[in-house]
Symmetry: D2
Subunit: 430 residues, 4 copies
């Protein structure tokens, strides 16, 4: 069983360690953007997507607004308008620049943004070197939050870049040096049985988590079955072939409206070329691997597939109970595939719970019993999104290794599918 206490996480209260993590994570964000052209940094291909240079600036603004301005004596903001331009959604901090217009800004340029990052990094370096004792704990907590925040945006950078390039009729690849994942033989999924009763889920203890993972609390579960792997492309192809996208009885009402309105016929990024299904990856157009987890499907599609298969999606509690026993290991970003890959066929127990694809659960994103937001403006971090969205679990091939946890709650609207999203089936014990 995975024991959180054993995680060799750096002590966030130790400035040296924090400074290292700061430097590493900040450098990684820039490395992610290094294969991009200047032009790629500017595009907002849909309202959900932000231009890469906006991400690079926004994560810096987070440190400026929540760490440097309150705690770094004599800190001078880089530019008086950036507070307006790069505030994402903190309404209590000031009116943010409208999200759907982020792609209308040619200035600040990419070079300006890099200068902004350097300016913030210099000040952060100084602050970390001479941490005012009085607020050391609060500062360290905010920096830690800021770094996890930047890691989230690293994942968003990859998914947004994929969408920006995927929208382009020229179908450019993000990187042409990515190796093809090794093929694996097909393997039928197996049901794993879990015992019901009172379980505990959610986070406890001192390690970093988001507010929405807390408090740890009891839930009652019936006995349940969980598939030992996510649904694959091959399985999803059978759903398509069986008219899945044309049969209203398989869909939630809102899902059916979405399918009809958007004309969906397959997961996002799928294209049929000369009769064969391909999909866009960060390495360019590739044939669909039938044994890899299906990806870029909405909650509606996951739910419809489950109904078609005579199963259902797991609740987030069921998922967490299964995942709590597993090591947090899998096809994360550092594995280098940047796409979901076929699971191994040998071995037992659940696999691919972590990495590959975020897994849609059947749980709406709502607060845990006793949930408390952070105080002040940072209280807007997670809590205000607790309506209309569904919980996803486990992390993806674009998630930084070390970022995900068994208790980690990701959340998106049921019609969104540009993240690396898939699902696994659950069911009742006969």
């Amino acid at each position: 069983m995975h024991n959180r206490a054993e995680t060799p996480a750096p002590d966030p209260m130790r400035p040296a360690s924090l400074a290292d993590r700061y430097a590493n994570i900040r450098a990684t964000s820039e490395a992610i953007c290094s294969p991009l052209t200047t032009e790629d940094h500017v595009i907002q291909s849909m309202a959900d997507v932000s231009p890469p240079k906006w991400h690079l600036a926004h994560v810096s603004w987070f440190f400026e607004a929540f760490v440097l301005q309150p705690f770094a004596p004599g800190y001078r903001v880089f530019h008086p308008h950036y507070d307006f331009l790069f505030n994402s959604y903190y309404e209590t901090h000031g009116t943010p620049y409208p999200r759907p217009k982020r792609g209308l800004l040619s200035r600040p340029t990419v070079a300006d943004v890099h200068r902004y990052r350097a300016h913030v990094d210099d000040a952060m370096h100084d602050l970390l070197a001479t941490l005012p004792q009085e607020h050391a704990e609060e500062i360290a907590a905010r920096i830690s939050l800021g770094l996890h925040h930047e890691e989230q945006h690293q994942e968003l950078l990859l998914t947004d870049i994929k969408h920006i390039l995927g929208t382009n009729p020229l179908r450019p690849a993000y990187r042409d040096d990515l190796p093809d994942p090794p093929a694996q033989p097909a393997r039928a999924p197996a049901w794993l049985a879990y015992e019901g009763g009172v379980h505990e889920i959610g986070a406890a203890g001192d390690h970093f988590t988001y507010d929405n993972e807390r408090p740890r609390h009891r839930v009652y579960l019936e006995d349940f079955l969980l598939a030992d792997r996510p649904v694959t492309n091959g399985e999803f192809l059978a759903f398509i072939a069986d008219g899945g996208y044309q049969r209203p009885e398989l869909w939630l009402s809102d899902g059916w409206s979405t399918v009809q309105g958007a004309g969906w016929q397959a997961p996002l990024y799928w294209e049929r070329i000369d009769g064969a299904w391909h999909h866009l990856t960060l390495a360019g157009l590739r044939p669909v691997d039938e044994n890899a987890p299906v990806c870029h499907v909405s909650f509606y599609e996951a739910d419809a597939y489950a109904r078609w298969a005579g199963a259902r999606l797991p609740t987030e509690a069921e998922w967490e109970v299964a995942a709590a026993e597993q090591p947090v290991a899998g096809n994360f970003r550092e594995a280098g595939w940047l796409q979901p890959v076929a699971g191994l066929t040998r071995g037992r127990g659940p696999r691919q719970l972590f990495g590959d694809v975020w897994e849609w659960t059947g749980s709406a994103y709502r607060p845990y019993p006793g949930f408390r937001t952070l105080s002040g403006t940072l209280g807007e971090y997670n809590g205000k999104f607790m309506s209309g969205q569904m919980v996803l679990r486990g992390g993806s091939c674009a998630t930084p290794d070390g970022h995900a946890r068994a208790t980690y709650r990701n959340f998106f609207y049921p019609g969104q599918r540009w993240q690396f999203m898939g699902f696994r089936l659950a069911g009742e014990t006969q």
Copy 2:
């Protein structure tokens, strides 16, 4: 404690009793529309609203499509096009006429619809008199469902009529013979403490319920507090006066967008006249009674109020645990007020759980563990709406007496507020 087994509900399998209920309920629908002009029957004041004559026809179509056509030998449909016009949303039954266009139909006329009702009623009368033994159980179950369905539409008739008249600048009253409810003294709410642990919620047994109330199952609850009455108009006025509608930190993100986009400043139907708040009732414009439950607020408003008050909304399980101990009695439609009324000040324990206003809970509308839909087309009845909506409990002043139950799950989108919707607060024990 309310014991469902003691409910003197008529045995739905007994044809005579079923025929009586059929006759009563069908007559009631027409009685509800009797104060309307012909013109009132035609209007669709927004996409959520249906014209009253559409309701009158649709509930008849339900019996025609699901009882008479499959089970009444030689039944002849009243009109070949009605199946298309009055199918509400059963996609597997055929493509329904588009909902937002229901207000574009002058024909069939109100008189035509009454003839349609009579045609269906005659056939139903004959069928009930000579129930084919072979399918008696299935027929009785479908008729019972059809009657509960018609009761739901009776409530919708009242809320839709209110909206149709409320949209009209002439502010006509639905009825001018409605008495004013008696005034009650103000009374501060009290917190009632409930013990946590494993509880059971949901319906079991043979009595009629919708599929979404089943199966009865265990849930784990922490200790919780529940207010002994809903939030009142007077309390909500304090929220307004404190800038509640102008402070983003009180709102869910989707809620804040809605408030901004729609320009909400008060509950629906509220108007300030010469400095005093009035609201439209089915009896016309009336001064707001500070001691009556606040009504016509969205989930977003309920949630924002709760945050402002340092509390939260109860989950549906908490609500049901509290309600299961109470008699199903209150200000339902038959009380004759057709508006929420101030609660009594004497007595102890929770009040107004049933009737007055549907109470928003903090629970998203999702299936219970082990949920199964009805088979065939009727499987679309409830299950397909299980995304994006929130659960409301308890029934309202427009709900037919006998229709609601402690296990009854109503559901609406978080931005809707034209139903008789209010809320009560919950909180953590100390």
Copy 3:
């Protein structure tokens, strides 16, 4: 040649004649609505359409607002809110009730509107009986305008009723007592040659015209050809068969967008039933008569047809030069067909210039040189619509006999087609 001076028009300054015209025209409006159900009076099937009861009230409001209130001593308005509800677009008179919401009003009822009409008629009767000498001329001029205004709405009543019934899947007929027009043999169109040079168009003299027909002024025309009859359904069918709706090179850019966006494949109200084209008429669905003028086409369709045919639409000046020589006679409303009918094959010269269909011209609706609006609020009558619209000429099968003139300028947006609109071709000499 048609000499306007000889028109035996009643002298509008003679009260007795005016009172007769008033009584006749007012009665005719009600007669037009008499075949309707109460429900038909309420519907607004699209934003361009007004509910018939709105028309009946609005034309009465015109007399109340512009004649009775300013000139009838002691006149008491029927209802204080009607000024708001039935003001169509006179912004300087007060903010009008939003046009697209006219179909949301069940009240005032049809009976209320009839009472309103009677109230106005009584007061008008009294005013006409005791015309205050001082303002007699102004009053008579306004009444005359009000009556022409009501005649315009009589035509709109017929076109709106057609749309209201035509939107209904039950395809009800407005009247089932309308005879079928007699069939006529096909006849190829002939070109009539007109000599260019300086011509005069527009109205002069004392007879009633709208402000937009004045002043009479000179225009220079090149020699031109004009078809001796409008384009027929049979000719338009050849355009459809030749892929007319699928070939972008035939269309104006805005027209092509409209065709693509709206999915047009044929004129409005056309339906192919068992392979044969039918169209909705006020008498119900009828087979398309190949020899009758094509109707319910937009300017875009008329223009595309003309390009396909190697011709063009006439300018309004060309049309008027041709029409000024013809008697104002044709298939107007009083002919009783209420649809365009095939023209006679014998005879010479232009035919069907008046009646049958309003003919799209190639002229944008702009002011004549020296145009002056009426003073005060009535100045909004015509002038403010002089952008974005095209001129149509000649009157239709729904226009009251005596209402149209050679100088009459009707105008609609190029994408509108619910009026009885057709066109005739023009071309260059040689």
Copy 4:
């Protein structure tokens, strides 16, 4: 009097001259973009605007599609997808990439576009050097059209760049080296009287014009007055101060809807800073010069101003009659101000007819009598836009010197105002 025959225009049939013009004009387009950052080249700030790199590519595509592919033996297209990406609106050439999505393309990059330009230029250089005799005339005509086309896009580049930078909250300047125009004293406008009668307008002769300027034809004009200069900022400020934007009686109906819907309170790019009106110029924010022509107003605003001033806009024929007598000289792009400047106070006769601002006329953009489009796909060049737009005359401070003519017809929708658009008043004699 300006005599077109004397214009020392290079003979477009002489290859050497054509090659020079080609080289100059192509180089100018790149010079216009040289002050831009790479990021500026990518933005589409509204649907009407195209990204600068799109302009640079599209004008090259024009030569590729209409000159090189048909006439350059062995020409190899630069990229197979560019034909799709950079076709602006030639539907008969293939389905164009959707205009409102031009800002979603990061690729081809700016460098790619420059390579594309060089590729086309090389091939054009070769073609011009060895012009195939057989098609020399057609080729020269198409190249000439392509160069005028590129000049039009040079003007659009400046107006689109202004909008792209003007949309940015940082308000960057296009160039910070632009001098301030010299101040001029105020001078009241004078009316110039023109005699009516039969006039000729439109182009004749062999010199280059667009198809829409032809044929030269007669028109009849009444005597008219024309202001000797455009309306100034100072005059327009008086309109604003007099409540011009709040008074519906001054506006066309469509104009009033636009003002209400868009919330216009002043011309585009105007901002009140500390009580003083400033406007964005290509040199950055500048105080409004009261003596310079008002600019960035829509037809609706021009028309409302004229009504407020008791005047009207001139027709395009009136404007052309006045302009035909004047030299084609004024504040064009080469003057270097890149903004409208105050006119001189000395001298007589009309001034600023050419340059400074395109002047809205009261004429809808429709074909001249006898208009013929170019044959083939190039027939889409002008003719298909002849609905819904108004004619503007005279050229602006962003128009290349030598591009405009007295007969030149520019056209925009009445609500557009991002071009350098102003107006002058006209009126009736006496």
